[in-house]
């Protein structure tokens, strides 16, 4: 579906340098690495939010993309209004039922009239995920989507992500610090170090028998 070959520099520092990374529909990719390894930069460039030097080639056309950044933002309005943002008046009427259902799935149904600024960090993440799933995305990019959630909320969120995946079969790219989450969700793992792909392959192989010392060290520290 999409192949990315880009570099990104901030001043003299190269934060990302990847070549020929492919993402296909019907696959879930976990992008992992230590802080500053380029994971969020890769996610943002793939989402088109920031530009890098290089090219992003789409097999057919640019896919319908949903992007959840690392720091989720809740707009100063009710949860329902947050869910319906960007839609025309006519679309809003039809979308309202879907919005209610998604809020319920994420355990936010009772707070639908509450101002989203009052949400906790974990609740904001749930809202951001729910908001993304209002659209039928072909490429879904989630940067640490469950970082601030408790264990129960993570389980619920992952179930909803998988339900979405099973229904639409998009390419899902999840940036995560958690090898356990990668094991649960991902088909493939991409491990970045200092902006470069250190190792990649099927999640089962890469996480069970990592070839790279850096990945081994990462897995021993992060479980």
């Amino acid at each position: 579906m999409v192949e990315i070959s880009v570099t990104k520099k901030y001043g003299e520092r190269t934060v990302l340098d990847v070549s020929g990374l492919r993402f296909e529909r019907g696959r879930i990719y976990a992008v992992m690495g230590s802080n500053g390894s380029g994971k969020s930069t890769l996610a943002a460039i793939l989402a088109g939010v920031i530009k890098g030097n290089g090219e992003i080639i789409y097999d057919v056309k640019k896919p319908v993309t949903g992007y959840m950044p690392q720091k989720s933002f809740a707009f100063d309005m009710s949860l329902t209004a947050n869910m319906l943002l960007g839609r025309s008046l006519r679309e809003r009427k039809e979308a309202k039922n879907k919005a209610m259902r998604l809020l319920e799935e994420f355990g936010l149904g009772e707070m639908r009239r509450k101002n989203a600024k009052k949400l906790s960090g974990g609740e904001t993440e749930k809202l951001a995920l729910a908001r993304l799933m209002m659209d039928d995305c072909e490429l879904l990019i989630l940067d640490e989507p469950t970082a601030a959630m408790d264990v129960n909320a993570v389980e619920r969120a992952e179930k909803t992500i998988m339900d979405y995946f099973e229904r639409l079969r998009p390419a899902i790219v999840i940036v995560t610090h958690s090898p356990a989450q990668a094991r649960r969700l991902a088909d493939e793992v991409i491990f970045l170090d200092e902006g470069r792909v250190e190792e990649k392959g099927s999640a089962e192989e890469v996480l069970a028998t990592p070839r790279s010392d850096k990945l081994r060290k990462f897995l021993s520290v992060n479980g």
Binding site: G66, P69, G86, R113
Partner: protein, 235 residues
């Protein structure tokens, strides 16, 4: 000095209590001018400030610098410029607006719009930085993002309007030049204060000043209630 101040307060309350017709007329003209000029400045200045706040383009810093410099436009200089433009020999002389409330409004809009735009940009820019990635990830266009950024800063907008109104009601240089301080037509609170000072009627001048401040106080009370209401409604 204190006797003048005391006399001023007594005079102020006496004037308000007796329902002085001339005072009422001056206050009405002042409010007509201030409400219009502050509203027009908001209508023009908020979109400009919001768009500059969310746009990222080469030379943006220079635009922001110019905008903030224009916040310090000298009122008398603006008055003279507007006078030259709208006087009988000026390019807009045929409109016949000299010494009218409309021209006073035009002069004040020129003065206050950069202030509104500057305050809006200062409020919107950090709000935009916080929401940028999320909004871009949702595929929202720049205009929608600017609207959302303004929504994030609505409490600051109330304060911006208060400042715009206060600047308008306290301004004397430009309105004196283009309005002429004509009795029953363009005399407003500040030009009346200046006139009474020039006539040596300090107590009356101070009294008018006190009344002006009470008007501004009343507006601030309403604005505070509005802000509190907004916060309560948003839970």
């Amino acid at each position: 000095m204190w006797s003048n101040v005391t006399a001023a307060f007594e005079k102020a309350f006496a004037l308000m209590g007796e329902g002085n017709t001339l005072l009422n007329e001056i206050v009405a003209t002042t409010m007509e001018m201030c409400v219009q000029s502050s509203l027009y400045a908001m209508i023009i200045g908020v979109p400009i400030g919001a768009l500059v706040g969310v746009a990222r383009f080469p030379g943006r810093r220079a635009v922001v610098l110019i905008m903030r410099t224009l916040m310090g436009l000298p009122a008398v200089a603006v008055g003279i410029l507007v006078y030259l433009l709208f006087s009988g020999t000026g390019p807009f002389g045929k409109l016949g607006l000299m010494y009218s409330v409309e021209l006073m409004v035009i002069a004040q809009v020129i003065l206050i719009t950069p202030v509104v735009a500057g305050f809006t940009e200062t409020a919107v820019a950090p709000a935009y930085d916080a929401m940028r990635d999320t909004a871009a990830g949702m595929g929202l266009n720049k205009a929608k993002i600017a609207l959302l950024a303004v929504n994030e800063t609505k409490y600051q907008l109330v304060a911006t309007y208060l400042f715009a109104f206060s600047r308008s009601i306290a301004e004397v240089g430009a309105v004196q030049i283009v309005g002429g301080n004509i009795l029953h037509k363009t005399r407003v609170m500040t030009t009346a204060i200046a006139l009474n000072y020039n006539m040596g009627q300090f107590s009356l001048a101070l009294a008018l000043g006190i009344i002006l401040m009470l008007i501004v106080l009343g507006l601030n009370v309403v604005a505070s209630a509005l802000q509190a209401g907004l916060k309560k409604r948003n839970g």
